[in-house]
């Protein structure tokens, strides 16, 4: 489609689409916030756990409490190392009585699958890597439900956020459709057979069905600015194998009251010892754009932390960033500086998420 392409963890992916078809990072970002945008997210991985002890297996490796999931329900979680740091973040979907689907990041497909397989051997459950079987397409934005409903017999208005359903879609039977996404907007992710013919047919049918809503194909550039505005973590930035759950501020997805899971012991100790650094949201007050890896300085120009992700925010029209700083100076309103090409530029700690989608009243 004439997109600017880039290599991403072994995948050839679009950064942004041509302006001539309504693309460009800013236009794509705004389409998702006000209408609908679609993403080919097939690079994401899929691991299926099924069997009599599938729940026990998931509970062992995932920090959230999967026993709360009804069939058809999903939750955000993470796989942790024994040190309480991140293997990856994940969305856990309960597809059946004893069947769970973990959707994981592209860059960590092999690592995650090996980790899951190696750490669930003691449970009576099959672990399958289904990553190559699915093409995954995300349809995101307030008009996403209107677009997708045209293409499926599943009743999408009955699907609550973070729930899934199955239905006939674009002539394909029993397609998994989840009301999930990585944009901080309402939207869906669909999982279709990964053969080239099916994938491109469905992609084009979605584009055609979305014409009346001004649908725009979106690339990695907008994917990043959208998730950043919503403070959604990106592996390798806000979360990694050297960052723990408390530092990353993901407490509410970590159910310490669960009997046991990998990483629980270390997290208990870390919490008791006091959390030294904290992920905060920054808004630039001076003229400049904070970017990934830039240093955060205190008022005396001493280095105190670093930016994990930083960018202009197209919807908010501000320059924002997420950064790790010492816990004692993480309060909202704290003034700091970000070092940009040798100069300290003013920034302030702000509440996060930077953006929250408006509540639908109907």
């Amino acid at each position: 489609m004439g997109a600017k392409m880039v290599e991403f963890n072994g995948w050839d992916m679009p950064v942004e689409y041509p302006a001539s078809i309504g693309g460009g990072i800013i236009a794509e970002h705004m389409a998702v916030r006000t209408g609908v945008g679609i993403f080919d997210v097939s690079h994401m991985g899929d691991i299926r756990l099924a069997g009599p002890q599938a729940l026990a297996a998931v509970q062992h490796i995932s920090m959230n409490d999967a026993s709360r999931l009804a069939i058809g329900q999903a939750q955000y979680s993470a796989l942790l190392y024994p040190q309480g740091t991140f293997v990856d973040d994940v969305i856990v979907h309960r597809l059946g009585e004893d069947e769970y689907l973990l959707v994981i990041n592209a860059g960590t497909r092999e690592k995650d699958f090996n980790w899951v397989r190696d750490n669930t051997r003691q449970f009576n459950c099959a672990v399958e890597n289904l990553s190559d079987e699915f093409t995954q397409i995300a349809i995101q934005g307030p008009k996403g439900v209107n677009l997708l409903q045209k293409l499926t017999d599943a009743n999408l208005s009955a699907v609550k956020f973070y729930w899934v359903t199955r239905g006939r879609l674009c002539g394909l039977d029993n397609i998994l459709v989840g009301r999930t996404g990585y944009t901080a907007e309402d939207g869906f992710e669909i999982y279709i057979p990964s053969d080239e013919a099916t994938s491109s047919r469905v992609w084009n049918e979605i584009l055609a069905a979305g014409k009346e809503f001004g649908v725009v194909p979106c690339g990695l550039g907008a994917r990043n600015t959208l998730r950043l505005e919503g403070k959604l973590p990106l592996y390798g930035h806000e979360i990694s194998d050297t960052i723990n759950v408390w530092e990353a501020g993901l407490d509410r997805f970590c159910k310490m009251e669960k009997p046991d899971f990998i990483g629980r012991g270390a997290l208990e100790k870390a919490r008791a010892a006091g959390v030294k650094r904290t992920l905060v949201g920054l808004e630039m007050t001076g003229r400049g754009i904070a970017r990934d890896g830039y240093k955060v300085l205190d008022s005396g120009d001493r280095e105190i932390g670093y930016v994990t992700s930083g960018s202009p925010a197209p919807f908010l029209k501000k320059n924002i960033a997420l950064a790790y700083v010492p816990t004692e100076i993480s309060d909202v309103g704290t003034a700091v500086k970000v070092e940009i090409r040798g100069q300290g530029v003013g920034a302030v700690v702000v509440p996060t998420p930077f953006y929250k989608r408006p509540k639908k009243t109907s």
């Binding site: 600017k4 950064v15 460009g24 990072i25 550039g221 003229r287 960018s311 202009p312």
Partner: protein
């Protein structure tokens, strides 16, 4: 596209329009297209000394920071203040959006720069990769 013949070009995609001993500098249409939405332009202050081939500022898109390279040596006499508030003007009209005006220290430096025709050829080869 046909690049304006009233100016010269660099391989780093800047243009320089000469008027006597002064010159105006900006970036080319190819540059703005490659960059995507431009959100920030950082230029030197009036009085700053520019050195041919050395960086003199930055232009930022949503995703990336790109250096601006001086096409010629000289002193900055004026800076386009509009770009501080409306950097997107560079996307809309790259050849009409000047960034700095300068006096030229050594006009002969321009002989080494590309003509519109040569720049067009250069860009066609770049785009072909």
């Amino acid at each position: 596209m046909a690049y304006p013949t009233d100016r010269k070009y660099t391989k780093e995609h800047e243009w320089i329009h000469v008027d006597g001993n002064s010159a105006t500098v900006g970036i080319t249409n190819y540059a703005q297209e490659s960059l995507g939405d431009i959100v920030f332009v950082e230029t030197p202050k009036v009085g700053a000394e520019l050195s041919a081939g050395k960086t003199f500022g930055t232009v930022e898109s949503v995703k990336a920071v790109s250096d601006l390279f001086a096409p010629a040596s000289g002193t900055v006499t004026e800076v386009n203040g509009e770009l501080a508030t409306s950097p997107e003007k560079v996307n809309k009209d790259a050849h009409g959006s000047w960034m700095v005006k300068m006096t030229l220290k050594n006009p002969k430096e321009l002989d080494a720069l590309l003509s519109a025709a040569d720049y067009e050829k250069f860009v066609a080869e770049e785009a072909g990769h």
